[in-house]
C-alpha cells in the first residue's frame, strides 16, 4: 500500500490540509478525503468535465490532477460558488432557466462558466459554446444551459457597471 503525504492547500477560501497517496486524483481527494462531493466523476479520464474545479482560478478536470500537485494552490469547487448565503448569478439563472435536468453535469458547467464569465462576462453564444465544449450534458441539448450562462453574463456585467 502506498505511503501518504501531507498536502496544504486553500479550498473555497479556507486553508485545508489533507493526506493522500500519490495515485489519488484531486477528484478522489476532494470527494473521499475532504468530503466535497459536489464535483462528480463522469468518465475519470478528462472527457466529460463533470469533475471540473478551479485551480488557481483556471478550470481543470480534477480527475486529471494528482492530489499531491495542489500543495500551496487555491481550489474552488461548486460548494464555493455561492457567497454569503446568496446564489451566484449563474446558479440563479440555471434555476430560473431550467438549465438542468438530472443535474450531474451541473456543478462542472457552473464552475467552468464562472471562470469564463469572470474573464469575459460579455462572452458571445459562440464563445460560450466553445469554452464549454469540455463539459458534456446528455439531458438538455445545451440550449437552456447556454441561455442561462448568457443571462448570467449580462447580469454580472450590469452589477460590475453599477
Amino acid at each position: 500500500m502506498g505511503t501518504k503525504q501531507l498536502v496544504s492547500t486553500t479550498i473555497n477560501g479556507e486553508p485545508r490540509q489533507f493526506i493522500c497517496e500519490a495515485r489519488q486524483s484531486l477528484l478522489e481527494v476532494l470527494r473521499d478525503e475532504v468530503g466535497l462531493t459536489g464535483c462528480k466523476e463522469g468518465c475519470n479520464n478528462g472527457n466529460c468535465g463533470a469533475c471540473s474545479v478551479l485551480l488557481d482560478g483556471q478550470p481543470v478536470n480534477s480527475c486529471l490532477v494528482f492530489g499531491l500537485e495542489v500543495d500551496g494552490k487555491e481550489i474552488t469547487t461548486i460548494e464555493g460558488i455561492a457567497q454569503g448565503g446568496e446564489f451566484h448569478a449563474l446558479q440563479q439563472c440555471f434555476l430560473e432557466g431550467a438549465a438542468l435536468q438530472c443535474g450531474i453535469c451541473t456543478p462542472g458547467f457552473i464552475v467552468t462558466a464562472k471562470a469564463l464569465l469572470d474573464e469575459n462576462p460579455g462572452a458571445s453564444e459562440e464563445e460560450i459554446r466553445f469554452q464549454l465544449a469540455g463539459n458534456l450534458c446528455r439531458c438538455t441539448g445545451y440550449d437552456k444551459i447556454i441561455r442561462a450562462v448568457m443571462k448570467a453574463g449580462e447580469q454580472m456585467a450590469e452589477t460590475a457597471a453599477s
Binding site: 469547487t77 460548494e79 446564489f87 440555471f94 434555476l95 431550467a98 438530472c102 451541473t106 458534456l136
Partner: protein, 754 residues
C-alpha cells in the same frame, strides 16, 4: 411558443423553480457515489477480455491473500436462479439471464462481461486484487453484426435459445430468439393499386444511452439478513425486485434508497451491480460501494439495438399510401429480450396504411444485453420509414409535409398491429410545422438542405403511489416513489397544487425509499408526469373529500352541500380556501393525510415532427446543423420549460445518433471507442439552439389532459437529418451514423454514378 389548450389553469403551464434545484446548483444533491459511510469498502469488478469465451476456471486465491482485501466473489456466490420471468412493469426480464449477465457463469458472452469482484479498503487495492484473479478462458468465435448472427453457420451464443414465433418454438437452437409478424389488409393488392413504389434497405449501428453518471451502488447486507441498497436507478421498486430475486431473498428484506440519478434514458432499469455489492458486503461485514468505470459502462451496459431494416411503401399519384411492407432484424445483445416488438409496432405507426405487412426478427450476438433507450426500437424504425416517405414524396413531386398530412394517423386510425388510436395530436403537429417560421423561411446557400421527419411513441401508464400529509399551516408534504431525473418532483407537485388551489411552492415533494411509499413503477416510458401526476391529483381529491366531510361539521351543513371551486370550499355563507380550512381542521381532530394509487392502462400516444436545416462540407462529409425545430404534442404542458427540455434533449440525442454515435468493433469483437472521447456525443459547440413548438391536444385519459413527452423527441432526428442531407446534396444515406467518412464515401460513389 405554445398553442393553448382551451381550459384555463392557475398552476399548470407556469414555470416555477424546481424543488430540488438549489441542491443541484450548489453541489449538495446526493447521488449514489456521494453516499460514503465511514466503514465503507470499495468494490471493483473483473471483466472478460474476449468477445466470446468459455470460462474454464477462476482462481481467486491470490486476490484473497492481498493486504487490504475484504472479500472476493464469483457467480458461484450467487444463487442459481431458474428461468423465471419477472414483470418489471416496463417489460419483463428472465432472471437467469439477469443473473448470468451480472456475473458470467460458464460462458462470457461479450467483452466486458463481469466474471468476478473484489471489495477492499480502497478502490485501488480492489482493482489490483481483481487483476490478480486468474481466469482461464477458451476463446470462442464471435459475431457482432445482426445479419451475420442470423446465418445458419453463425457462432451460437446459447444452445437453449430457440426461435419463438407466435408462441411456437423452433426445433433447433438459434441466435434468433423471436420472430414477429403483423398483417393488415391485402399487401399485394395494395402495391398493385400504387402508382409509385419505393423500397430501401437501412443499417444502424449500436448506440448507448450515454448518461453522464456511471452506474453506481452502495449495499449493506446486515447480520440479520436485511439488505439496504443505495442505487442509481430509474425505479427503486424494480431495482428492489431484481435484487431480491437474483439473491433469492424476500422483498421485505431489501430496502432500495433511490439517490439522485445522473441520467438513465432507459439504461438504468435493469440492475448490474446491486447483487454483487450486496454479496461482497455480506462477506466483508461492511457496506460496499461500486462505481462503474466509464469504459465498462460502454462495454457492459445499455446499449440500444443495431439493426437492419427494409421498408417498401406504395402510394397513388395523389399521394395516398396504399401499402407498406417492412422487414426488421434487431440485435438483442448477449441474451434474448430486446426492442423488436416496439420496432415492429412503430415502423408504420405515424400513418394510415390500409394494407401492411411487418416481419421482424430479434437476434442474439456478442454485445452487451440490449436495454431500452428513449422510445426503444422506434428511432431505428422511423429512420427507415421516414427516409422512404421522403423518397416517395420526391417521386410524387410533393413536399414530405404534404405527403404526411395526406396520410397522418388520427383518431380512429388502425395501427398495423391492430389497435385503433384514440384522440391523438399528429395532425396538429403537422399543421404547426406547416405554419412554423422555420418551415416558411427559405433556406439559401450551397450544399444546404432542409429535412422533415415525424415520430411516435406509445408512452405508458403503469403503477404509482403517493401520500400527501397536510401541515398545520395548510402546506403539503408530498411523498412519492418516482425517481426524479428531470424535474418531475415539480411537475407532479404542480398537479396537486392545481387541484388544491395552492402554489407549487406550497407542496414539498420528497422521493422516498421502498420502505416509505407504496409500489411505484420506473421513471421511464414517458409515464412519470402523466401517471404519478395523476396520483398526485387523486390524492388531492382524496384530501378534499375528507375535508368536505369535516367542514360539514364545522359549518353545520351536509357534505354534499359543500362546493369546491378552484380549490375554495364554500357552503351556506361559509367560505375557506385549502390553507384556511386545513389550518382550522388541524386545531380539532385527526391530522389530514391523503393518498392515492393509480394504474392507468393506456398509451399516451405522443407524436412529434422535426424540421432541420443542414450544411454539408462535401470535401470532408461533415454535416453542420444550422437550425432545428421540434414540434410535439404534449397534451397539457405542465411545466413548459421542462417539456421544452425533454424535446431539446431528446432531439440532441437523436442528432448524436444520426451523425457520430456508434459502437465501433474491430475484427476481434472488441469495442474500440469505449470512451467519451471516441464515442462522440454532441458537445455544446456542435449545436445551434433547439427551437420547440409545443402542441397541446388534451389527452382524454388524464384529468388535466397530460401526455408523456420524454421519449418521442429522439425518434425523428436521424431521418430528418438524412432527408436534409438528401435535399442538400442529393445523396441518400442508408446507414447510421451518417459520420463524415461514411458520408464522404457516399458522396464519392454518387459522383462516380455509383
Amino acid at each position: 411558443m405554445t398553442q393553448e389548450i382551451k381550459q384555463e389553469y392557475r398552476v399548470l403551464g407556469t414555470r416555477p423553480i424546481r424543488h430540488d434545484g438549489a441542491d443541484k446548483v450548489t453541489g449538495k444533491a446526493i447521488y449514489t457515489a456521494d453516499v460514503k459511510p465511514q466503514s465503507m469498502a470499495s468494490g471493483f469488478i473483473l471483466r472478460n477480455p474476449h468477445a466470446h469465451a468459455r470460462i474454464k476456471s477462476i482462481d481467486t486465491s491470490a486476490a484473497e491473500a492481498m493486504e487490504g482485501v475484504l472479500s472476493v466473489m464469483t457467480a458461484a456466490d450467487l444463487p442459481d436462479v431458474t428461468d423465471k420471468v419477472a414483470d418489471l412493469g416496463e417489460g419483463t426480464v428472465n432472471l437467469s439471464y439477469l443473473s448470468h449477465n451480472i456475473l458470467a457463469r460458464d460462458k462470457a458472452l461479450y467483452r466486458g462481461h463481469a466474471v468476478a469482484a473484489v471489495a477492499a479498503i480502497n478502490v485501488h487495492i480492489a482493482e489490483e486484487a481483481a487483476n490478480a484473479i486468474k481466469v482461464e478462458y477458451e476463446p470462442l468465435e464471435s459475431v457482432t453484426w445482426v445479419m451475420d448472427a442470423m446465418k445458419d453457420d453463425a457462432p451460437l451464443l446459447h444452445d437453449d435459445v430457440f426461435t419463438k414465433s407466435g408462441g411456437e418454438q423452433s426445433e433447433q437452437p438459434s441466435n434468433v430468439s423471436v420472430h414477429l409478424n403483423f398483417q393488415q389488409g391485402d399487401v399485394q393488392k395494395g402495391f398493385e393499386e400504387a402508382d409509385v413504389v419505393v423500397e430501401r434497405e437501412f443499417k444502424m449501428a449500436t448506440v448507448h444511452q450515454g448518461y453522464i453518471e456511471p452506474h453506481a451502488v452502495l449495499a449493506d447486507w446486515n447480520q440479520d439478513g436485511r439488505i439496504k441498497v443505495w442505487a442509481s436507478t430509474q425505479g427503486a421498486f424494480t431495482c428492489r425486485q431484481q435484487t431480491a430475486e437474483v439473491l433469492q431473498v424476500p422483498l421485505s428484506h431489501v430496502t432500495v434508497v433511490p439517490c439522485e440519478i445522473g441520467g438513465g434514458f432507459g439504461g438504468k432499469i435493469a440492475i448490474y451491480l446491486e447483487p454483487v455489492a450486496a454479496v461482497l458486503s455480506r462477506k466483508a461485514g461492511r457496506p460496499v460501494q461500486i462505481v462503474m468505470r466509464r469504459n465498462d459502462v460502454f462495454e457492459a451496459t445499455g446499449p440500444t439495438p443495431g439493426a437492419f431494416i427494409r421498408v417498401k411503401l406504395g402510394a397513388t399519384k395523389d399521394g395516398k399510401l396504399t401499402a407498406g411492407e417492412a422487414w426488421l432484424a434487431y440485435e438483442s445483445g448477449a441474451y434474448p429480450g430486446g426492442m423488436l416488438g416496439p420496432g415492429c409496432m412503430c415502423v408504420f405507426s405515424c400513418y394510415d396504411i390500409p394494407n401492411a405487412l411487418v416481419d421482424g426478427y430479434e437476434v442474439c450476438l456478442n454485445k452487451p444485453h440490449i436495454k431500452a433507450y428513449r422510445a426503444p426500437g422506434a428511432t431505428q424504425a422511423a429512420f427507415a420509414c421516414e427516409s422512404v416517405i421522403d423518397e416517395l414524396a420526391n417521386e410524387l413531386g410533393i413536399s414530405i409535409l404534404e405527403l404526411q398530412q395526406k396520410n397522418a394517423a388520427k383518431e380512429g386510425t388502425r395501427r398495423v398491429d391492430g389497435p385503433v388510436y384514440p384522440r391523438v395530436g399528429f395532425v396538429e403537429c403537422l399543421e404547426a410545422a406547416a405554419s412554423s417560421d422555420h418551415w416558411n423561411t427559405p433556406l439559401e446557400g450551397e450544399n444546404r438542405g432542409r429535412g422533415l421527419a415525424s415520430g411516435f411513441w406509445f408512452g405508458c401508464g403503469l403503477k404509482s403511489s403517493v401520500v400527501a400529509s397536510v401541515n398545520s399551516d395548510g402546506t403539503v408534504n408530498l411523498t412519492e416513489g418516482s425517481t426524479d431525473i428531470g424535474g418531475t418532483r415539480t411537475s407532479i407537485a404542480m398537479q396537486m397544487a392545481e387541484v388544491l388551489g395552492l402554489e407549487s411552492d406550497d407542496i414539498n415533494p420528497r422521493v422516498v425509499d421502498t420502505d416509505n411509499i407504496g409500489y411505484t413503477d420506473v421513471t421511464g416510458g414517458s409515464r412519470t408526469t402523466f401517471a404519478t401526476g395523476m396520483a398526485a391529483y387523486e390524492a388531492g381529491r382524496d384530501l378534499q373529500r375528507q375535508m368536505t366531510v369535516r367542514a360539514a361539521d364545522l359549518w353545520e351543513c351536509k357534505p354534499e352541500d359543500i362546493q369546491i371551486t378552484a380549490g375554495v370550499f364554500s357552503a351556506n355563507g361559509n367560505q375557506a380556501n385549502f390553507k384556511e380550512l386545513a389550518t382550522e381542521l388541524f386545531k380539532a381532530g385527526e391530522p389530514l393525510v391523503g393518498r392515492a394509487t393509480v394504474a392507468p392502462e393506456c398509451s399516451t400516444n405522443g407524436f412529434g415532427t422535426h424540421i432541420v436545416d443542414v450544411e454539408v462540407d462535401t470535401d470532408t462529409g461533415k454535416v453542420t446543423i444550422l437550425r432545428y425545430t421540434v414540434i410535439q404534442d404534449a397534451g397539457k404542458a405542465v411545466h413548459p420549460s421542462y417539456v421544452e427540455g425533454q424535446l431539446q434533449g431528446g432531439a440532441v440525442q437523436g442528432i448524436g445518433w444520426a451523425l457520430n454515435e456508434e459502437y465501433f468493433f474491430d475484427g476481434c469483437g472488441e469495442m474500440r471507442n469505449a470512451s467519451f472521447l471516441d464515442y462522440r456525443m454532441p458537445t455544446a459547440y456542435d449545436l445551434p439552439m433547439i427551437d420547440t413548438i409545443i402542441v397541446e391536444a388534451a389527452n382524454p385519459d388524464h384529468p388535466y389532459g397530460v401526455r408523456g413527452v420524454g421519449e418521442t423527441p429522439i425518434v425523428p432526428p436521424p431521418a430528418a437529418i438524412a432527408n436534409a442531407i438528401h435535399s442538400a446534396i442529393g445523396v441518400r444515406m442508408e446507414e447510421l451514423p451518417m459520420s463524415p467518412p461514411r458520408l464522404w464515401k457516399a458522396i464519392q460513389q454518387n459522383q462516380n454514378g455509383g
